[in-house]
């Protein structure tokens, strides 16, 4: 079962196609726009054995960049406020942890994807992320984190984090229980999507009946939320400055705001 595939299919107007077996695309009508959906999905037969469960690896980094760039190139002739929305449908367990990945420079492949997404946003494409499952670490940085608007399903299976629990506990030399206890007091450490939504990074937490296999009502609700996000993205800035101005960010990211103010005052 792939939440990324299920939601892409459910939102699509018609067929779902693939750039490579692990990166799929579809078109979805959102209000007056036809948006391009892009998802990374599992490919059990991937020649990259560390990237078979939906991880963002070398091939996925390249395919994401190709999928995004195709939209940007196709709309280059349009006025920049008429360019198509791009929706990253996110359910990624992580980046691909593997030796061949490092040998061939997976950091570069992910940079190519980040570059393409950011270029689409600055060119005027409303760039929206819809988190339907896990959004972890480098996988999320390459697929979803550059969006001007980020929506997430309010569901226990939705997790946004820098690293999965066991590894994070190991690296910070804690037990998983200690980590969970700290996460109850320290919001950025939490694996709970409702805590993540309070950090100022979430533009909509969507309550659905079935996050794994959406009902017709779920699809309608998410489509409406995406349509509203497209409108906000068109009106909003094309950089990521809105992440520091939301009411939640004013509370949670007060230190970030102080940094920006201090640097600007001393810059001259």
């Amino acid at each position: 079962m792939s939440r990324g595939r299920n939601w892409t299919r459910a939102l699509a107007d018609g067929d779902v196609s693939d750039v490579v077996p692990s990166v799929i695309t579809a078109d979805a009508t959102l209000g007056g726009d036809v948006a391009r959906l892009i998802a990374v999905v599992p490919d059990p037969r991937s020649p990259y054995h560390r990237a078979r469960r939906g991880e963002v690896g070398l091939r996925e980094g390249l395919a994401l960049a190709e999928a995004v760039t195709e939209v940007v190139t196709g709309d280059a002739h349009l006025p920049d406020d008429r360019r198509r929305p791009i929706v990253a449908v996110v359910d990624v367990p992580s980046q691909a942890y593997g030796r061949v990945e490092e040998v061939l420079g997976i950091h570069h492949a992910l940079a190519v994807a980040v570059d393409a997404y950011a270029r689409a946003r600055t060119a005027g494409h409303p760039l929206i992320t819809l988190i339907v499952g896990t959004a972890l670490s480098g996988g999320f940085l390459a697929h979803g984190a550059q969006a001007g608007q980020i929506l997430a399903l309010d569901d226990p299976g939705v997790v946004v984090h820098a690293m999965h629990r066991k590894a994070a506990a190991r690296v910070t030399r804690r037990t998983v229980d200690e980590l969970d206890e700290l996460a109850r007091r320290i919001p950025p450490l939490s694996y709970d999507v409702t805590d993540w939504a309070k950090l100022g990074l979430c533009d909509g937490l969507l309550d659905v009946e079935n996050a794994g296999d959406p009902t017709g009502g779920d699809v309608g609700k998410v489509r409406d939320a995406l349509t509203a996000a497209v409108e906000r993205a068109r009106r909003g800035p094309r950089d990521l400055s809105n992440r520091l101005t939301s009411p939640a960010a004013r509370r949670t990211r007060a230190a970030s705001r102080r940094v920006h103010e201090a640097l600007a005052a001393q810059w001259r």
Partner: protein, 318 residues
């Protein structure tokens, strides 16, 4: 350096000042023109991470990132240095915001007519896991601001060592206009220890230092065009390479925009039977011919290096 150090040039060796042994603040000052360095948002501003103390971790008054403005070869520049000694160079809310805000201010300078370039000193394990989601978010913001500035002025990355550049910040490194590395520097997404614990020792033996450097090391990354300039661990050599990199200006197409090149390189390798790291440069050169390598000039100006003495265990958090 083409003579492979067969003869020791003692006068040059004695004149050499190691770059790796300097902390982030000293590195930043050493790169800029003498007398021009001015630190912004420094320790006396006391903007600390608000998330560490509740976890029993002692914060630092600069949160492990120094921002130093000044001139570089007479041109306006800002150096952003990650201090590897604090929390493994991990990027948290404050340190990440310092990097992103500095890059944005440099971009604003450019739009207002001051051509400020930026130098990133990247010794970092990536996201600081004690600040998890806010670290991850700020790295995305760093990437965005880096791309904004990169269109206007060079953003030069320096990975000198000993920690290396891993995790999410390796993606930022991949976005830089150009990357300068020493033989001691390392660049990779996932650190060897993380891969070993995720995928087993057969996938990656994190105790095999020869293997690690053969994959992540500066010689390999410049040899395979994932970095641009290989320099010696010497202040003058690094500074010269940085000035040269800024002087080359903004290229027509950046490394991370060359999608066709990435495609050709991946198609040239069978992931089930990949080449040895030492053979990769030759395999890739067949599909993507290399232009005249800029590292030649920088190497010839540099003074000899002493044998590598440091081998810190790489981490790469996320």
């Amino acid at each position: 350096m083409t003579s492979q150090d067969t003869r020791t040039d003692w006068s040059a060796l004695l004149a050499r000042t190691g770059f790796i042994e300097l902390g982030a603040r000293a590195r930043a000052v050493a790169l800029l023109d003498t007398g021009t360095a001015r630190e912004l948002c420094g320790p006396f501003d006391r903007i600390e991470s608000p998330w560490l103390e509740p976890q029993g971790v002692v914060p630092e008054a600069d949160d492990g990132v120094v921002v130093v403005k000044g001139r570089l070869g007479g041109r306006p520049a800002v150096v952003i240095g990650v201090e590897q000694a604090f929390q493994g160079g991990g990027i948290g809310e404050v340190s990440g915001a310092k990097i992103a805000a500095t890059l944005s201010l440099a971009a604003a300078d450019n739009r207002a007519g001051t051509p400020t370039a930026a130098i990133l000193l990247l010794e970092t394990g990536g996201v600081r896991l004690q600040e998890a989601n806010l670290g991850l978010a700020t790295i995305a913001e760093v990437c965005s601001a880096l791309l904004e500035l990169r269109a206007l002025q060079p953003v030069v990355g320096v990975i000198a060592g000993a920690l290396g550049c891993f995790g999410g910040m390796s993606i930022a490194a991949g976005l830089c206009t150009s990357l300068i590395m020493t033989r001691e520097g390392r660049l990779g997404l996932d650190g060897p220890e993380v891969i070993e614990s995720e995928a087993g020792v057969a996938e990656f033996d994190a105790s095999d230092h020869t293997l690690i450097w053969s994959i992540d090391g500066g010689t390999q990354r410049t040899g395979t065009a994932l970095a641009d300039v290989l320099v010696l661990d010497d202040v003058t050599a690094v500074r010269t390479a940085v000035i040269d990199a800024v002087g080359r200006g903004v290229p027509g197409e950046h490394r991370s925009q060359r999608i066709g090149e990435l495609r050709a390189r991946l198609q040239a390798v069978d992931p089930a039977d990949p080449p040895e790291p030492a053979d990769l440069a030759a395999v890739w050169a067949k599909v993507v011919p290399r232009k005249a390598a800029p590292q030649k000039a920088a190497q010839q100006k540099a003074v000899p290096r002493k044998p590598a003495s440091r081998k810190a265990a790489p981490r790469g958090d996320g």
